[in-house]
Amino acid sequence: MRENLIQTGLISDDGRTFIEYDWYAGGIPPNVRCGENVYLDTSYGFAAFHSERDTGFELGKGSGTYDRASFIVGQNGSAKVGSFTVLNGSTIICNDRITIGDHCLIAWGAVITDSWTNFADEEKRRGILRLAAKDTKRRLLPIEKSRPVVIEDNVWIGFDSVILPGVHLGRGSIIGCKTIVAEDVPPYAIVVGNPARLIRYLQPDDTPEAIEAAFVKYRKK
């Protein structure tokens, strides 16, 4: 069940790809691009994918989306996920740009969002709900200008964490479970708790040599 989506998928007239083993009938939208050897549990995560960009979502080679990993992407949104990244039941809410690097681990319940920050204006909030009620797709428009999120390579985001708009997570960093991240995190830092606090730094031992050795050792023979 872990074959390449492109090889096993059936393509429909409107360009959607249907995965053979999928329980959900929605299919993968045509502007979702996958690298080699990716795994997608289900197309259910693309139920609220409304991107009208040429490439609305990109999943690099060897990456996987598992369980209820969801991609809530607005009309102008475009999210990119690198290679060998695990999206296990996490949610991406993107109305502009979210970039996730290679070798990241994103756990269940984690939310990464580039929009929905300013809730102060009550009339604006009511207006967005009125617009959603009129839309057949019930899209929620972003309240204010989105702020892109960048997650560098080898970042681990623990379960039920939230990465807020505009945040940049440095390479190799760890976000503990149930942590709300509103500020940038430096490379190799460990950030935990609510409010979030930086508790220590890790040794940056993920050298190009170490990566090469890991591929030799842990890739299926």
Binding site: R2, N37, V38, Y39, G62, S63, G64, F84, T85, V86, H103, C104, L105, A107, N154, W156, F159, G172, I174, G176, C177, K178, T179, Y188, I190, V192, G193, N194, L202, Q203, P204, D205, D206, T207, A210, I211, A214, F215, K217, Y218, R219, K220, K221
Partner: protein, 200 residues
């Protein structure tokens, strides 16, 4: 056409049991030891149970398990006492999780005795390769584990999380949403992320 079995709310938990009318249609593992009047709602609770030890789950009498996940790795042991009530919680066990008697575990609770992944950047990166569609899941880099002990009469609130190496003293109360990363003294009440004692 055979008539579909009526689904029961609870089934008596027994080693190797298959439940008539179980929506999941799985089988209870054989390597478990169960007391009397202990019930479970579905074999789904064992979907992630992979213990290969002679007894991977030891559970007492009069225990209720409802929509919970008893996830155990190959060499893991979960021990649960008597009169416990485990509702919609996840026990994620790599080595050992011990729960006393008269313990209530509410919905959304996660109890884990490992870090799930290595901490060091190079080892963690190696884990992403092992877990990938082209990786070998049975051969992952080493991950730190440390048993969790929950003593008698402990109440654990909704969405609380208990992490590896924690011992929760008898009679303690874990407030909803807490993240417990260090030992909780007997009869203490803790809350927050990270959890702190609030009843001193």
């Amino acid at each position: 056409m055979s008539e579909k079995q009526q689904t029961q709310l609870f089934y008596p938990l027994q080693p190797g049991a298959v439940f008539d009318g179980d929506w999941f249609g799985g089988k209870v593992p054989r390597n478990i030891e169960v007391g009397e009047n202990t019930v479970v709602d579905s074999s789904f609770c064992f979907k992630h149970y992979f213990s290969i030890l002679p007894i991977g789950l030891k559970i007492g009498s009069n225990v209720t398990i409802w929509r919970a996940s008893l996830a155990a790795e190959e060499n893991a042991v979960i021990e649960i006492g008597d009169y416990c009530y485990i509702a919609n919680a996840s026990l994620v066990c790599s080595e050992k999780i011990s729960i006393g008697s008269y313990v209530l575990i509410a919905g959304g609770v996660t109890i884990a005795d490992s870090d799930f992944h290595p901490i060091a950047p190079a080892a963690r990166l190696a884990d992403t390769i092992a877990l990938s569609p082209v990786g070998n899941r049975r051969k992952r880099p080493p991950i730190t584990t440390k048993p969790v002990v929950i003593k008698d009469n402990v109440w654990i609130g909704y969405n609380a999380t208990i992490l590896k190496g924690v011992t929760i003293g008898a009679g303690a109360i874990i407030a909803p949403g807490s993240l417990v990363i260090e030992d909780v003294p007997p009869n203490a009440e803790v809350a927050g992320n990270p959890a702190k004692v609030i009843n001193k």
